[in-house]
Amino acid sequence: MSNAAPLLEVRNLRVEFPTRRGTLVALDDVSFSIAPGEVLGVVGESGAGKSMTGAAIIGLLEPPGRIARGEILLNGKRIDNLRYEQMRRIRGKEIGAIFQDPLTTLNPLYTVGQQLTETMTTHLPINPAEARRRAIEWLELVGIPAAAQRIDSYPHEFSGGMRQRVVIALALCAEPRLIVADEPTTALDVSIQAQVIALLKTLAREKGTAMMLVTHDMGVIAETADRVAVMYAGRIAEIGPVREVVKHANHPYSAGLMASIPPLDRRVERLAQIDGAMPRLSAIPRGCAYNPRCPKVFSRCADERPDLMDAGTTRAACWLYASEVPHG
């Protein structure tokens, strides 16, 4: 899949937050690509920079956050340096977004029908009547019962799971080629998480929509993603095909992360934990950011920061896979 021309390409992305006490580097040297129709899972501890990556892609970094280096390309064209109005036309139309909490992402004062139709009439050459017809279709498609009546209901009249279905319809209704889904099920009741993920997966597959899926749920990743990126302290630690990363992680951090996940088929008494915590942005250690916690740490790790390198089945940012001998 990765040999098709990429739909999205992120190259050496660096995001900074200028603050009074110096510049915080929230993302550094993040590179990856997503092929048309491909699902890239993104995992990592809280604060690793997953949401920040998504926000940079849709061009909605919260000020004063800004892209300081690198580029983002959609269909080979740079989108990281567009003016607000140009990027606005891409949001929703080319790149859809799904946020975490459906209770807060829908405007409480607009009916779901109004929110759907305004999105479609903004991006598609259709009139309001046609938009309304399609809005009903979308509600049916995402599994809202009695869609023709429910279209005039307000968000508070739906349950959390139903609202996230509406959000999915909103993200997809202008038929974008890429969806950035940031923990789309974390806020939902456990019993309906699987349904919502299944819906998202089916729709993305039917429409051929590629997806960047941020989640903490490794089960979801294993079932949904084609490739996985593991993030740590604002960088990609490892990226590769889902089977390899989940089952045979090369990077010590990914290996630790995968070991801390309960196997799907049985319950375990105690989960393995990675000792320590991820460093704060203001205190990222020199060398490999993971070195204070890494069981395989060696001399080189404390001095030099590893870039992504070939680790056989995956690419990992770890000196264990350096082919050349360090100079000096």
Binding site: F99, P108, T111
Partner: protein, 327 residues
């Protein structure tokens, strides 16, 4: 909907009754109305006759019930000062106050809301900083001082606008309006600015604070992520969500504008109810004072009801049961 209105009116009744009780107590026990009405020299027989005529010899509750009954018919007795029916006096003065309050409120809204939206959206522009500094003046200077300063500049120095009175008015049935003559409109400008300035700055600051809050909301971020144009995001999604608190404050402020027109009317010798009230206080004209109090409380209650109805119109979450959707 109808049940909602009825229940609100029922809730308002105790408020109105307690205000009525206070104004009645004032009416019956503050000062000696009989002495005031009879003047310096009178006989005991004259006094007894007047006491009987005014019904002051009857038990408290009977007097109170009569007072309520009369008030409900707009009957507040005679002004001690002017010996004319209070209802007539108030009816004559009400248009001046209502037109002034209306103009001040419209000014405060039409200028305050856009300024609030602007300062909320572009909080670092120099114009926003200017508006905010300006609003501090509006909030901190006392009304009478603003009025006097305006008179000094625009009436005394520049001579553009009159410093007192209502100008020429036109009679429309029972109503007299200053809206239809040039001198009436000119006379309105300074008092309306004086009366509305505080509310204007209050509304601006409120809308700004609400905009800043709402702009951080997830649904605004999501509206942007859906690629909606800024106009729709700012003036649709964001502004609409600031409306509920804005309506509350604006409603309360409108009541306040009418109630506290007293100061402005005094400064500009504006022939409204506030000026009437102040003159009545000076003369211990209790019937006028109690009628005015009752009227103002009625205004507040009515505005509260309207505010509640507006909530209901703006925020679907407050609607009982379902909207027009299905089940």
């Amino acid at each position: 909907m109808f049940a909602f209105i009825v229940s609100r009116i029922l809730q308002a009744l105790p408020v109105l009754l307690s205000v009525a009780l206070i104004s009645f107590a004032m009416f019956a026990y503050v000062g000696d109305p009989v002495a005031i009405m009879l003047g310096q020299d009178y006989t005991q027989a004259q006094r007894d006759a007047l006491v009987a005529e005014l019904g002051l010899d009857r038990p408290f509750w009977v007097q109170f019930a009569t007072f309520i009954g009369n008030a409900a018919q707009g009957e507040f007795g005679l002004s001690y000062r002017l010996s004319r029916p209070v209802a007539d006096l108030i009816a004559e003065r009400a248009p001046a106050t209502l037109e002034l309050a209306f103009t001040a409120a419209v000014l405060a809204l039409l200028v305050g809301v856009p300024m609030g939206v602007y300062t909320g959206l572009y909080r670092n522009s120099w114009l926003s900083r200017f508006f905010l500094t300006f609003s501090l003046i509006g909030v901190s200077l006392p009304t009478f001082l603003i009025g006097i300063l305006l008179i000094l500049v625009f009436a005394v120095w520049l001579g553009w606008l009159p410093s007192f009175g209502r100008g020429d008015t036109v009679r429309l049935g029972a109503w007299t309006t200053g809206f239809l003559t040039v001198s009436g409109l000119k006379a309105l400008v300074l008092p309306a600015i004086t009366l509305g300035l505080f509310q204007l700055t209050l509304i601006m600051r409120l809308v700004r604070a609400e905009m800043l809050e709402v702009l951080r909301a997830d649904y605004i971020k999501f509206a942007r992520a859906r690629g909606l144009p800024n106009r729709a995001v700012h003036f649709g999604h964001a502004l609409k969500n600031t409306l509920v608190p804005v309506i509350t404050i604006v409603g309360l402020q409108l009541g306040a504008i009418i109630a506290f027109a007293i100061v402005t009317e005094t400064v500009f010798q504006w022939p409204g109810m506030g000026l009437l009230f102040i003159q009545s206080v000076g003369a211990a004209d209790i019937p006028v004072m109690s009628a005015y109090l009752l009227l103002i409380s009625l205004v507040f209650v009515t505005i509260n009801l309207i505010v509640d109805l507006l909530y209901y119109a703006v925020d679907p979450r407050l609607r009982i049961g379902r909207g027009k959707g299905g089940h």
